[in-house]
Symmetry: C2
DNA sequence: ATATTTGAGTGAACAGTGTTTACTTTTTGA
DNA sequence: TCAAAAAGTAAACACTGTTCACTCAAATAT
């Protein structure tokens, strides 16, 4: 193991790259991809616009990196809960809820992570690289958890875990997107504002998971 | 009832407005909001770019009209099925499935309908005008159907139809968005390609509705 | 230590975008 | 017929992402 993998020049370069990403992250979190312009970003870090292209091939590539980092955050949190020893019922529910929570904490990140699919990375389809991407890993945590539910006997035996995981992921994704795009979603048209956003997320998670459970009778 | 509500000039104006919208619809369906530029649109209909601003305040307003028309289409189709006399179980399932079908038939429209919320119209939040919007009407069809399910005894009695409708809408929305953003979604990482997109939509609809059904035992 | 090559950084330009303004032409209504 | 209103436009403004030719400093090789 050589420790000298990075030359001083290389380290300096990485530092600047990180500074660019950090500045980009700040404005992106507040205003999304539209608000993030190369010129504005360049001004923020006292460089010329053209300089940024020495560190990133395109704006898309830069934003893609923000997205991947974001899904890293989701993965970490979901994983942390999945490894807990709490009863299966609430553990699975909490995973679903946490996913939505984080997604809605950084609405622009979450929306962009699915919107773009800018062909640069985004190996979310076909096969190649999906299992390696953070998005893919998060998906596998989910399908693994469902498989556990089937083994335990909590979930119906006739369901295909992978298929069920896709369905559940879609339902989570839907709530997250709703909240992201319609800021007042769970409370919109609130005839009784008896339920907060977080309560609704849990309600939804319960609803979704109930679809998997065994029906006695 | 006066029949002379529209002068010749007015009718001519509406005709041109419609021609603009029609041309916009064509390119929007194919390439989305990004591909639809005012200049390109103007060229298509042999007008100067500035002319379009005599008919629409902004590009957003123009696109908003495309979105509303699109949701009109969804509403019509869902309504047609909701008014059927087929058994409740499949009728409700078909409504959900149809929503997703149409959404994914015009992916750009559906994504844009939620993405923008361009503050122009988009009364999807708060209260004012939501019930009047096509989106709002579609939602009410859904919650009405759930109320029917509760009355009939098919769904659990302790659920609030409005709340449940929001949850189900989110789940539908999620699948639609997944398919829209990840073209190969239901089949991605297809270890067995034993299920087509349409089959998966039905599977998901079942899953979602099962969360509402009564558990015997 | 000197020459050479590599890479960082830049100003200016290209090709787009939505939108506005001042202006001309056409159409309408009295 | 003539003034007023509306339709349509060319040109500009203020942006956008991106590229190109260029300079200058730093690392490398001789």
């Amino acid at each position: 193991m050589t420790v000298t993998v990075s030359s001083p020049a290389e380290r300096r370069r990485n530092k600047i790259r990180a500074r660019i990403l950090s500045a980009a992250e700040r404005v992106f979190a507040r205003e999304g991809a539209e608000g993030l312009s190369i010129r504005r970003l360049a001004e923020n870090i006292d460089y010329s616009p053209a300089a940024i292209y020495k560190y990133f091939k395109s704006k898309d590539e830069l934003v893609d990196e923000l997205k991947e980092t974001f899904f890293e955050l989701i993965l970490e949190n979901v994983n942390r809960i999945a490894d807990t020893s709490t009863p299966f019922a609430e553990r699975s529910r909490d995973c679903v809820a946490t996913y939505v929570q984080i997604a809605t904490d950084k609405p622009y990140h979450y929306a962009a992570a699915f919107a773009g699919e800018s062909a640069t990375q985004a190996p979310v389809d076909g096969e190649p690289g999906f299992a390696q991407s953070k998005k893919g890993q998060a998906f596998m945590v989910l399908s693994g958890m469902i498989a556990e539910g089937v083994e335990i006997g909590a979930f119906r035996a006739d369901i295909d875990p992978t298929l069920a995981a896709k369905s559940i992921w879609a339902s989570m994704h839907g709530l997250a997107m709703m909240i992201v795009h319609i800021p007042t979603f769970p409370a919109f048209k609130a005839e009784q504002d008896t339920m907060t956003r977080d309560e609704f997320i849990l309600f939804h998670a319960d609803q979704v998971i109930r679809g998997l459970e065994v029906h006695h009778g």
